[in-house]
Symmetry: C2
Subunit: 431 residues, 2 copies
């Protein structure tokens, strides 16, 4: 009998992180890190797991959106889905009625992304490969076939993408081998949450350097004097040579960002992340021109590849920050990696949250092996939260992500954690 997709199961999972101000920043003072979690089931018993990261309230809306899309996937033959994940991704994002709710943005795009990613997880498990390797084993033609170029080809044609991937084909084997031995560079945001006091900031900053991280990141944008003091505390802790990035989480307007960064400039921040609205391409371009040599980074809230295309076309950013669950799945992120490669801008993925490290590392590693072939100026964010809930938690040693060896995309949460943290009736919340 032919295998088919027989079920799409969802879970509203929330961790009460706001109790400890983990994850606190100027825009998100009290997040409860959450996952709108999805399991795709096939008639032969295989499963694909994926999630959308949210920060608490509204996780139920994200779950409802994933459930609404079930009608587009349940009943499809498994092979039809897995052998054409490009077509499947277009189908999830392209339904003419659901599309109206975006288009290509927000809750409905993230829901499509969850289902697309669950299908990738299913495929990776069936092929017994971690996602990065599955992707890096595809031919350039197969990779190009995963991307929807409709709104992108004025910046990157399929032929250009193919050239770029072919140019990187030769060294794939060597880079995969080096990845397995040496991993991929990380930086950490663990010390820098806005809700941590100076003692905790100093202690965690020192630990970060001792642990081998190449950079730390501090949340800023709440209060100027606090920012200056915390930058001093962190600089004293890490010494003169470790870069410190800062992250405003969108709290500023364009002129305010420029002015505030003028105040912080003496502390030589490595980059300013999310200085303003993630939608403001022209605003980021103005900020970049004004704050140079401080770099400008954004993307974790970038809704779709069309936004990234324009950030790159406008020369608005120095660092592209992809996120594992913000766009409509791995296919969109491949599009963004290809665009960034075309424009020669490094990708430093956003991570943290719930499972974002576990998932996004695969994309950075795929980029290294099969797209850009380099780790220069590239780092994956690392935050030391909630990894214990994952079946295949990230392994970061000596400030580097180790290449995952387990099959899948990394999103699978332990059954016991799903039960414990189900909202609102799991034991963690009922207490």
């Amino acid at each position: 009998m032919t295998s088919s997709i027989v079920g799409l199961e969802t879970h509203d999972v929330r961790f009460p992180t706001s109790k400890f101000l983990d994850g606190s920043d100027a825009m998100n003072p009290f997040p409860d890190y959450s996952a709108a979690y999805v399991v795709l089931r096939t008639s032969d018993g295989d499963e694909g797991h994926a999630l959308v990261f949210t920060v608490g309230r509204g996780n139920d809306v994200q779950v409802a959106a994933i459930e609404a899309l079930a009608s587009l996937v349940v009943g499809l033959p498994t092979d039809e889905v897995l052998t054409d994940l490009g077509g499947f991704a277009r189908r999830m994002s392209g339904d003419s009625q659901f599309r109206w709710l975006g288009p290509d943005k927000g809750v409905i795009a993230m829901a499509a992304g969850a289902i697309v990613n669950a299908a990738w997880d299913l495929r990776a498990r069936r092929e017994h490969k971690p996602l990065w390797q599955l992707l890096a084993d595809l031919s350039p033609e197969e990779i190009v076939g995963l991307v929807d170029f409709r709104y992108l080809s004025d910046a990157l044609t399929p032929a250009e993408a193919l050239d770029l991937l072919r140019a990187a084909e030769a060294g794939r084997g060597d880079r995969a081998a080096s990845l397995r031995t040496d991993g991929y560079p990380a930086y950490t945001t663990t010390p820098g949450w806005l809700g941590y006091d100076d003692e905790k900031l100093a202690r965690l900053s020192k630990e970060a350097v001792a642990d081998g991280f190449g950079m730390i990141k501090l949340k800023v944008g709440g209060d100027r004097d606090d920012d200056l003091r915390r930058l001093r505390v962190a600089r004293d802790a890490v010494g003169p040579d470790t870069p410190i990035a800062v992250d405003a989480n969108q709290v500023w307007g364009v002129d305010e960002a420029i002015e505030w960064m003028g105040v912080l400039a003496p502390y030589r921040p490595y980059w300013i992340e999310e200085p303003t609205s993630p939608d403001d391409i022209l605003g980021h371009a103005r900020i970049r021109a004004a704050v140079s040599p401080v770099k400008v980074a954004t993307g974790e809230h970038g809704a779709n590849p069309v936004l990234f295309k324009q950030l790159l076309q406008a020369g608005a950013i120095d660092v592209v920050q992809i996120d594992a669950t913000r766009v409509a799945g791995i296919n969109d992120n491949i599009a963004i990696l290809l665009l960034a490669a075309k424009f020669g801008v490094p990708v430093c993925p956003h991570a943290g949250g719930v499972g974002l490290c576990e998932m996004v590392q695969h994309l950075a590693m795929f980029d290294y092996v099969a797209v850009t072939g380099t780790q220069d100026d590239r780092m994956i964010e690392y935050v030391d939260h909630l990894h214990q809930h994952f079946v295949d938690p990230v392994e970061v040693r000596g400030g580097r992500y180790r290449a995952p060896a387990s099959p899948g995309i990394g999103a699978r949460i332990h059954d016991a954690s799903l039960t414990e943290f189900t909202y609102p009736n799991g034991p963690a919340w009922a207490r």
Copy 2:
């Protein structure tokens, strides 16, 4: 006893429009025009009604999002809400956990907009004024206080907005009077749906001219030969002097839009609407430069004022098309009207759908009376669908919207229609 908001009630209302291909275009071949409908109730019995327009599947997700936000509004004192609708709008969009689902875009932004608009409806009913008049009676300071300038002030400061509104203060009375006697110009899309045959297109086009509409609009982008033939049919029907706009509903990439419009150019379309992704500011700028003197119009899927700000900053469009339910409510639309006024670009609202004509006319009329003071190059879209379901249906005569006199924002649907078209169990769907 002080009045407070005691309830937020929602309805999933869908009209089976796909049966007749009303509303069919190149991106949306089979829409079922729908409303995620909301009623705010106060302890003293007053109500505010609003809706989000969708095209069918996913309307339940939109309803779920509106319900999720109920926790932010139910229990608030009515006066606190209604006397500071600027603060209320910021509160609906600014919750740090819900905001993550956008930010400021898609399902969660439209949900915030529905609740904000229901509060405006409540206030307008309490003050016994149609929305356009309520807004046009506010002082320039009060209007400026409704807008969140955080991400806009690099293009428009509160002081500039104030100057602009003060400059328009003198003629308010005369323009309100002329609006009451002469109304506001309309154009119609009724003839142009892609699913209509040539005979129906010709017949409805002739009727549109006879009815006094100043322009008709045709859907394009499905097939070039069809587009050319339909443009000929429409041109023959309306004669040489009536402008014909065309609307591609986002089906093209940037280069494709330029090429396709080159083919349609001999038929002198008045504007090309939604030639590509609504998020592609730089793409619209390139298209505009290439297709001139054909105008470029977009905005019905413009997620927030930051997008409109950039479309204007980049000189990307000739016509700003606001939509009554796409952004986070009337406050966002006021921001867009002010931005358009600053840049001197006319606003021609998108309408049609369910209740969009009823609602958006108020914003165009407010713009005329209190913002720009002109109707030059301005028209509100009109489509002759589903008005019978509204308690205060639009009145279009001689190709002009008549100024509404009934209190409210125009979104209230008849109770009988709510019952009949409730999805999936209303009689219309159960049959």
